[in-house]
Amino acid sequence: MSGFHTVELFALVVFGVNAVLVAGLITLKTVHRRRTVDYDRRRSHYVTVLSRHLAFENCADPLGRDAATDPAFLDALIDVRRTVVGPELTTLGDIASRYGIITELMHRLRRGRSRGQRLRAAVALAELGDGSSARVLMDHLSDHEAEVRLQAARGLGRMQWTPAIDGIVNRLEVETPWLRARFADTLVGFGGKATAPLTTYVRVNHPFETYGPVTAVKTLATIGDSQAVTPLLEVLEEAENPEVEIAVIEALGILGGPAVIAPLQRKSDSPDWRVRAKVATGLGTVGDPSSAPILARAMCDANWWVRRNAAAALAKLPGGSDSLYAAIDGPDPYAGDAAAEALADRGDLEAARDRQAVGETTALDEKLLAYVEAVVEVPA
C-alpha cells in the first residue's frame, strides 16, 4: 500500500470515528431532552392535580397509578408543600399516605440499592416531614452516611418530634465540625423544647471540647429562649476556654435581660482581648445604661477591636453619646478615633455636615467636625 493510500485510509477512519461520536452525542442529547420534557410534563400534570385537590375539598381526581414511584410526583408534592401552609399541608400529607409515598420512601431509605437512592429518600422524607416516618428517621440518626443522618435530623426537626432531641444533641459529640453546625441548625426547629438538652450538653462538655459546646451555645442564641440564661451564666463562670466564653458572652448579649448585665460587666477585665471585645458588643446589645462607664473605659483599651466595639456599643446605648463626645476631646487619641468612627457610622457626622451647610450647628456638631477635619489634615 502506497503512502497516499495509508493517509487516505487513516483520514477515513478518523472521519468515521468522529461521525459515530457526533451521532452518539446527538442521540444522547435528544434522549436527554425528551426525558426532561417528559419529566416536566408529568411534574406539571401532578402540580395541577394537587392544586385541584387543594382547591376542591372533595376532589377525587386520580394522580395516576405510578405516582408513588415517579420522582416527578415527589418533586411536585414537595414543591406544592413548600408553597402553602395551614390545613393544606394535612391534605397533602393525606395524599402522600393514600398513594403510599411515605411507605415507599421509608422502604427506599432502609433498603435502597444505591447511595443516591437512599439519600434522595432521606431528603424527601425530611422535606415532607410526615409524622409516620419519625421512627424510621430516628433509626437513621446513626446511619453510616453522614448526609442521611443529617436529613433524618432535619426531618425530625421539621415535624418537631421531641423524642429525637436528645439523639440529635448527642450527634454534636461525634460529628465533624461542619456537620455539627448543620445538626445544630436542625435543633432550632424545636424551639424552647431543645433548650434544656442543649444547656445540659454544654455544661457537661465544655471543659473537654470546644467546637460542640460552641455550636450548641450558638444554637441556644438562635432559639432565643430566656430559660437558657441561668445555665449559660453558670458556664460563663466556670469556663476556662476563651472560645466557649466568647460564644456564651455573645449568646447572653442576644438573650439579654437584667441577669446578664453584671456577669458581662465583670468579664470586661478578662486578660483575653477577644473576650473583652465580645463583652463590649454584648453590653451594647443588652443596652443597659449602667454599662456606659465600663464601655467608656474600654474605648481606651490596648486592643483596637475592643476600642472599636466599645465605641459602637456606646453609640447604641441610651446615654452613650455623652461618653463618645467626651472621648473626642479626651486625652486618649485612640479612644477619640474610635468614638468619631462610631459617631460617623451612626450618622452623626453626616447630620452635623447637613446642619453646618445651613448654619445651624450645635456645640457637639462643631466638636465632631473639628476632630474629623484635624484627623484628615494630619496624614496629608
Binding site: 382547591a55 376542591f56 395551614g86
Partner: protein, 120 residues
Amino acid sequence: MTPRILIADDSETVTSLLTVALQTSGYDVETAKDGVETYEAGKTGDFDLVVLDQLMPGLLGLEVIQKWRNEGVEHKVIMLSGVDDDRFVVDSFEMGAIDYVRKPFRLPELLVRIKQRLDT
C-alpha cells in the same frame, strides 16, 4: 362581568395552584412567568387585580409596578412574596400595593383577600 386576574410568578406551582383555585371561584385568570411578561401583560391587559411576586427574572415585582406607574397604568396589586423583610412590605405599600401576603401562604386566606380587594 367576570373579574380578570393576572397571576405573575416564576413558580409554576404558584401559578397553577392559584389558577385552579381562582378559576374554580369563577374568575378569569391569566398568568405571567417573569417580570417583562408581567409588565407587558399589565400594560396592554385590562385586569381587575394583579397577584404579583417580587423575585422574578427580568424585572422585580416592584420594578414592574414602577414602570406601570411611569406610563400611567394603574392596577390593584396584591404582593405575594417570600421576601421576609418588613422594609420590603413597607416599600410595597408605598409603591401602591393594596395588600401583602407572605409565602408560603394559606390558600383560603389568599382567596378571601382577593375577593375582598376585588369588592372594594
